[in-house]
């Protein structure tokens, strides 16, 4: 995390904003991966879908 912080360009305020954007992007990607993988556990039981 610290290494990532140091790698971000600009002053601390810009770094913080970029960090928030990165965290949000990771959460969105995780959400879609979880949703996709969740279908392997339980797709809802629909026949013929």
């Amino acid at each position: 995390m610290k290494r990532l912080w140091n790698a971000l360009p600009g002053p601390a305020a810009v770094k913080a904003a970029l960090m928030l954007v990165l965290i949000a992007a990771v959460l969105v990607v995780l959400f879609f991966v979880f949703e996709w993988a969740g279908d392997l556990l339980d797709s809802g039981g629909v026949i013929g879908a």
Binding site: A37, G38, L41, D42, G44, G45, V46, I47, G48, A49
Partner: protein, 225 residues
């Protein structure tokens, strides 16, 4: 991996509980409002041969008068009614549709099949292990168990007649049946979408039970002839 399992097994349950609680709180009022828009029961005549023990001459068909209460599907994603299975502790609001978003809210009714309690085969699908897992214990049902579905027309009581394990594309379980049937489908086994567990139940009581029984008898006689 832990985050994934936590999300699937707990977060989705939490989200579903909130949706179900809200839907349950307003369902009765919605059904009552829909009841006021229902058409009056239709008197219908069904041709059914009289039950006579080994007649010498074939009996002419007779007409039996009964009543039929039609009901149309509701818009996609809207609450359709309430599913109650006492044997496995199910009491859920059923929504119209079997798309991904609708099934997150609760069991869903396949829109291209009849509304439960109407003639034919009404099909409902539901999650087994996520999103409130309404059909987690569906495999505990036995032949003869009762399933109740409350819709705007009234409460329809079904009795379990058949239980199958099928492939996900075995669409024959959704095909038309004579009389009035309810088919419940879910993933099988637990924590896998490899197969489908299917429970099929026949209407035995409710506003359209007499009509459905006559239709089933008519179809049966037609097959025998």
């Amino acid at each position: 991996m832990l985050a994934f399992l936590g999300y699937q097994l707990y977060v989705t349950d939490f989200l579903n509980d909130r949706v179900q609680a809200e839907a349950m709180a307003t369902l009765e009022a919605e059904l009552e409002a829909r009841r006021t828009q229902l058409p009056a029961p239709e008197p219908v005549e069904v041709t059914v041969p009289e039950e006579v023990e080994e007649p010498e001459e074939p009996e002419p068909p007779t007409f039996v008068r009964t009543a039929f209460v039609p009901e149309s599907p509701v818009p996609q994603g809207e609450p359709l009614g309430r599913l109650m299975i006492e044997a496995i502790g199910v009491d859920e609001v059923v929504f119209e549709g079997v798309d991904r978003e609708t099934l997150k809210k609760g069991p869903g009714h396949m829109p291209w099949t009849p509304v439960p309690g109407q003639p034919g085969n009404a099909v409902m699908s539901g999650h087994r292990t996520t999103y409130g897992r309404p059909f987690y214990d569906l495999d505990q049902l036995e032949i003869g168990d009762r399933i109740e579905v409350e819709t705007a027309v009234g409460t329809h009581v079904f009795e379990v007649r058949e239980i199958h394990i099928v492939e996900p594309d075995d669409v024959w379980v959704t095909e038309e049946k004579s009389g009035a049937w309810l088919t419940l489908t879910t993933c099988h086994p637990h924590f896998s979408a490899r197969e489908r567990l299917v429970v099929q139940a026949e209407l035995i009581d409710g506003p359209n039970a007499a009509y459905a029984e006559l239709l089933a008898r008519q179809a049966e006689e037609g097959q025998d002839a």
